[in-house]
Symmetry: C2
Subunit: 484 residues, 2 copies
């Protein structure tokens, strides 16, 4: 059916307001002056009220009632957004968005000053909002946290995730422990790398991977991220440290993975409410696939490593490709998620998953969360955080109100491994990488995943591509084969 005119107008307005809010957020994270957000948040609040009014109103309610059995993607999404938001009073909705638009700076300051106390009140308020909203919205979901998980990954609840993370605990934690005392093999990474040259190499790398700079930009921000206004304006960021080459390179590959997904959304879906990646987990499956499965492989670097060596001749001229590959795949359990190696990574997520359950389902206070965090790190990685900034303050997500998001990272890895298992049967991946034909892989993912935008959920995509719904076995097998 065609969308009726009055509904289409609301969708159009929603698109316009979303464009504005996306850009304000991008700007805040990349460039805005530090003193500006307090007043800018007045505008954000009003724009969010307008956004809310587009999703929840009598016309939409009536439209949903008249199309109860229609399962087309747009209607499914209209229905979900209505249902997700109708219970939340508009002023609380915008009040929460205003709080989170300011919280980022408060969190950043607390992290910079290495002082959790500065952030506790804000975090407590955010958790209160998140729990309250989940309570408003809870219907068939068993726990409050299930409500949130459903926002990022429909179909994945605590019951299902407990099984997944139990497998991580029983199968991966022991492998991590085996590597605890490995000798370091990537000292080359911590030499001095000129930042301008890092930027130039990353631009080259992004282009090499297929990122289209006519339809995208790469800027800088404290934490690399990807956002987009539509499929002709996709934006990634990176950050650069003089004494950490890997960080910029793999952040770049990761964000390009996200970026390609958004660039591949077809024209007839972009600027609609299903014109973006399917779910957070499916998005992460693409970024982590490029970053780890492709980006840390020898075949990928074979045609590329010479360029990197030339760019940083002083540091890398004596580092052979073989040694570089071993270095970038080093396992070194640590405290910081974003610097984690591929094997340790899901442990970081497992800990956050447990902490979030405590916060949302058990109502634990922020001091208890901190205590649990540190204890679990000691138990599972063998290291206890000494400083707030390397403990519970390290991630930006909660300051944006994003509870329930973290599991998508681990799921993304697992989706990626499952998809890779099928891809290997269809494509000669190593040969393609060695001959620089990344575009064949990109096209494969476009055809199988990207072109559907958010018209399908992740389990539907996995079923289409791999012949079965989510199965964590492929991820566990992949990690064990690579790191045992």
């Amino acid at each position: 059916m065609d969308t009726p005119l009055n509904i289409q107008k609301l969708l159009d307005k929603r698109m316009a307001i979303t464009t504005a809010l996306t850009l304000i957020d991008w700007d805040e994270q990349t460039l805005a002056p530090e003193g500006g957000m307090e007043l800018t948040s007045n505008a954000i609040k009003i724009l969010n009220e307008e956004l809310y009014s587009c999703m929840v109103n009598d016309e939409i309610r009536q439209f949903i009632n008249e199309n109860k059995t229609d399962e087309t993607a747009i209607i499914r999404k209209i229905r979900k957004d209505y249902k997700d938001n109708v219970g939340i009073p508009k002023d609380e909705f915008s009040g929460f968005r205003t709080l989170t638009s300011k919280a980022n700076r408060i969190w950043a300051k607390a992290k910079e000053e290495d002082n959790f106390d500065l952030y506790k009140e804000t975090l407590t308020q955010i958790i209160e909002y998140v729990r309250k909203f989940a309570r408003y919205r809870q219907k068939e979901e068993k726990t409050l946290y299930d409500v949130l998980l459903n926002d990022y990954e429909p179909g994945f609840d605590v019951a299902r995730l407990d099984v997944f993370f139990d497998m991580i605990k029983s199968e991966i934690v022991p492998v991590v422990k085996k590597h605890r005392n490995d000798k370091s093999v990537n000292s080359f990474n911590y030499k001095k790398y000129d930042i301008e040259k890092q930027k130039q190499f990353c631009e080259y790398l992004a282009t090499y991977l297929g990122f289209d700079f006519k339809r995208g930009v790469m800027a800088e921000s404290a934490h690399p991220f990807t956002t987009n206004l539509h499929n002709k304006d996709v934006r990634i960021t990176n950050h650069y440290y003089e004494c950490d080459l890997e960080d910029a390179i793999f952040s770049c590959i990761h964000e390009v993975g996200h970026g390609l997904y958004e660039l591949n959304i077809p024209d007839n879906l972009t600027q609609t409410i299903v014109g973006t990646g399917a779910t957070m987990g499916m998005h992460e499956s693409q970024s982590r696939f490029y970053e780890n499965i492709i980006g840390r492989s020898k075949a990928f670097w074979k045609p590329l490593y010479g360029k990197l060596q030339d760019t940083f001749a002083d540091n890398l001229k004596d580092v052979e490709l073989e040694q570089f590959i071993i270095g970038i795949n080093e396992v070194k359990p640590g405290l910081i998620r974003t610097q984690a190696d591929e094997l340790t990574y899901p442990i970081h997520i497992m800990i956050r998953y447990e902490v979030e359950k405590m916060a949302i389902n058990d109502g634990a206070d922020v001091d208890e969360l901190k205590k649990a965090w540190d204890q679990m790190y000691e138990e599972y990685t063998g290291i206890r955080p000494e400083r707030d900034s390397e403990s519970i303050l390290q991630d930006v997500h909660w300051s944006g109100g994003d509870f329930g998001y973290f599991p998508s990272y681990a799921l993304g890895n697992a989706f990626g491994a499952q998809i890779f298992n099928t891809m290997k049967k269809d494509l000669k991946v190593d040969e393609l990488l060695e001959s620089g034909k990344i575009s064949v892989i990109n096209d494969y993912l476009k055809e199988k995943i990207h072109k559907y935008g958010a018209t399908l959920e992740s389990n539907e995509i996995l079923l289409n591509v791999t012949g079965e719904e989510f199965n964590p076995k492929y991820y566990i097998d992949y990690l064990k084969e690579k790191f045992m």
Copy 2:
């Protein structure tokens, strides 16, 4: 009186939408990928419709009717915006904004390729819209162009401006002609200046002038400009050419002049509809005052020139301060407005004023405009443009629909000279500059001009500050004294 709640809500929404549109425009001019604007303009169109609906609706109409005699600044502005827009159908309003949001790229391409033909159709459409809107809006104004002039400089119509530009023609054109064959005295300007060092110096310079980087940013764009979301987020841009040091320095000072105005808007006005500079001309009076009257004076450079010399030691070590000051005040009639010296500048504006009158009042077609442009340049500067890019294609303004804006530049210069004439009686300007106390001058302007935002019109401000309404004599005298 207090603004009623329903009207306040409309004003708040208008502020939020304006914030969004300002940021989208900033982003487009500084960073957005070139392929993005076509789709982004879908969002711009809708946001402009929302903006229009905030200004023109039954509630506002009723409010105006109930407050016919109220002359408070906010109500005056609500009334003006209603009156200015009510005659324009909403779809034409947003259609025009959509056209202009795309026109910038078309103009830029035509200029780059030095081909007016590529831009003619777009420019013709823009002029048609502008004339049509002026016709809808024309009330007591004698000519269509008067309607437009009133948008940028209330109180200044063709009758008044003809007198002003006649003075420029009779008194300044002869002085310019005297300088036509001057020997060049600023060859130092065209040596090679490292761009990174130019940026660093300009950041230093902006700070020196009082620009607060906690409440502002400086980025790059093809054409320097200033914009702001509110008084805690003021943004200026600059551009840098390796072989033109002056361009970056004086663009920087100019934009800082605009920026200080917006930074000095008081908290109780910012984010209201009168929370910005009074008029375009008054804004230009500040930027041109800083750029020329302050920025090209010997007293200003006395404490600063050593720093510039150190930064570019290879090029400037043998250039004495005296020689530098003579160089930056060189008169050299040319074709490009943005590179014009202070004396020739109003001639450029005079020509645009005549061309705009032809376009708007006489309905001349774009070929006729081009012909008139080139003829007048030959007549008044002695040089005939050879290429489209140095002729009618040189300015960005018309692509944004801004007809009637150019006269504000010349008026701004003249306002600045009139204000300076009074300031000299109140402050020992040279002594302040020599001792680096720019803040005293900044505070003077803040107290006399900036703090009123747009609650006063330019003639009201001039009367308050100088004891008389606009009087072009001070500007003519200033130029003749400096350059005869």
